[in-house]
Amino acid sequence: MLSYILKRVLATVPVMIIVAVFVFLLLRLTPGDPAAILAGDAATPAQLERIRDRLGLNDPLHIQFFTWVFQMLKGDLGTSLISNTDVGGMIVSRLGPTINIALMTIVISVALAVPMGVIAAWRHRTWVDFAVMSFSVLGFSIPVFVIGYIFIQIFAIELRWFPVQGYTAPSAGLWDFFSQAILPSLTLATIYVALIARMTRASMLEVLGEDYIRTARAKGVRENVVLFRHALRNAAVPILTIIGTGFALLISGVVVTESVFNIPGIGRLTVDAILARDYPVIQAMILLTAGIYVLVNLIIDVSYSFFDPRIRY
């Protein structure tokens, strides 16, 4: 088990190195000059040259790459070209809203989607199944921001239950936090629920046809125990996998949702940085999100054996 975990951790190293090279080249080989952004429109060629020297942009590419990687490894994410502040600090200050919304989304999604998928599989080919599947196809087909605006229109403008936009930290007022975070979380959850419910249903359908389910029913085990203990546990591995791969979906959803609801999180930070060509922030954010994606999938891979004892490494 331990050697498997170690092997799995080591396997992430080349992936992260290639991501780093890719991000670095993406920003260096496309048109656009960070020095020009920093210097502004009125800069003379001599000033530009001095700034290039200071940023190390005149060094050969491989030197620039290694300088950057070593800085990152030391924990120095660089300085923003636009706000001239420390990138690490910027990210930390914007992390709170994103994490809170994402956690709320995952809780809502799993709480809704897993029972939906289980019931759809249990009542296979009935109107319940049809309704769940229709919802899940619909969830994939409407852009996240349109869902966001529909929610705003219904729940904030027509019914006035929640505020239209904005964000309050939980520490500044728990009630305000919930009333403002509920719409963005529901928006984000729509696509995630669609994804997880679909996978839960498919995975459960396969398991419900197994002999041990018939045996359990035959010996008089209560139906909800059959469903949630016998079947769901055995159907868990594909569901977990989809929660992991769907994590990338969550990240892109966060980016859009933060724009719709005007939430000062890292999604908005990244988009603003990309549009303003704030290179150090873009590099750090893409590496960070890729790192989180790899980490989440690593944890999920390792947790398989917990849910399915047949999997031993």
Binding site: I18, S141, L205
Partner: protein, 295 residues
Amino acid sequence: MADMQDSRRSAFQTMTGLLSLPRGARLGAGPTIAAFLLVVIVAASLLAPLYVPYDPLTMDAMARLSPASAEHWLGTDQYGRDTFSRVMYGGRVSLLIGVGASLVSVAIGLCIGLIAGFFRKLDGPIMRVMDSLMAIPAILLAIALVALNGPSLGSVIIAITIPEVPRVVRLVRSVVLSAREEPYVEAATALGSSMPKILIQHLMPNTLAPLIVQGTYICASAILIEAILSFLGAGVSTEIPTWGNIMAEGRNYFQIKPGLIFWPGLLLSLCILSINLLGDTARDLLDPRMKKREG
């Protein structure tokens, strides 16, 4: 050359399998409605220049943000441009992006996937690069590519394509890996068929069915991603209306005129919905094993 005829026939059968239903099978109401909807949306978009009442770019300062009326069926936007005409014209470009992105990513993914699946030495390195590309969130990668290459139609298609390629590569590779072990490939190698010939004539036909399914899904997701890119400010420039950038421009006037987001949003969602439903149907028809699993 019996093996060659065999693979020809299987490719032919796959082709006809797409056009005709297996004996005894019936299309449900869902796919029929989806196909009908899609045909209507595609036709309405392609023929837009023939019937829309206004030029999608003509501004009218006297009719800014006007409500729906007999003159402007869906009202006008903040520049007085006719929303109905813009939405119908927008469909042309959004559909072009969807079809373009799916064709390009399938073509690139097919080439790389065939190579990765067939040459054992290249498999490892290629798949590590693909894993890395998949680790970068598609939307961030796409916005970065558009922001750095400029808001042209081509650059948006490329930006949507690049994150999709690894998924196609994985699919093609897995099909090739299992097909490679088949006796007919061994026979072709023994008979001295050249490498490109084995790849194209014997292995490629196997990938056709899954690629058609994957291609429809990519088309749907490309239309969706275009909308998201526009919304985030990294889409096609607004002289070319797309469903995405009409909605993006409508953002600031959402409280006054929600229709600027809802109408293009509705058409886009219906379009993606029918493409996805048809993709599911194609998958069930082409791959009975998947059908069993999905129920």
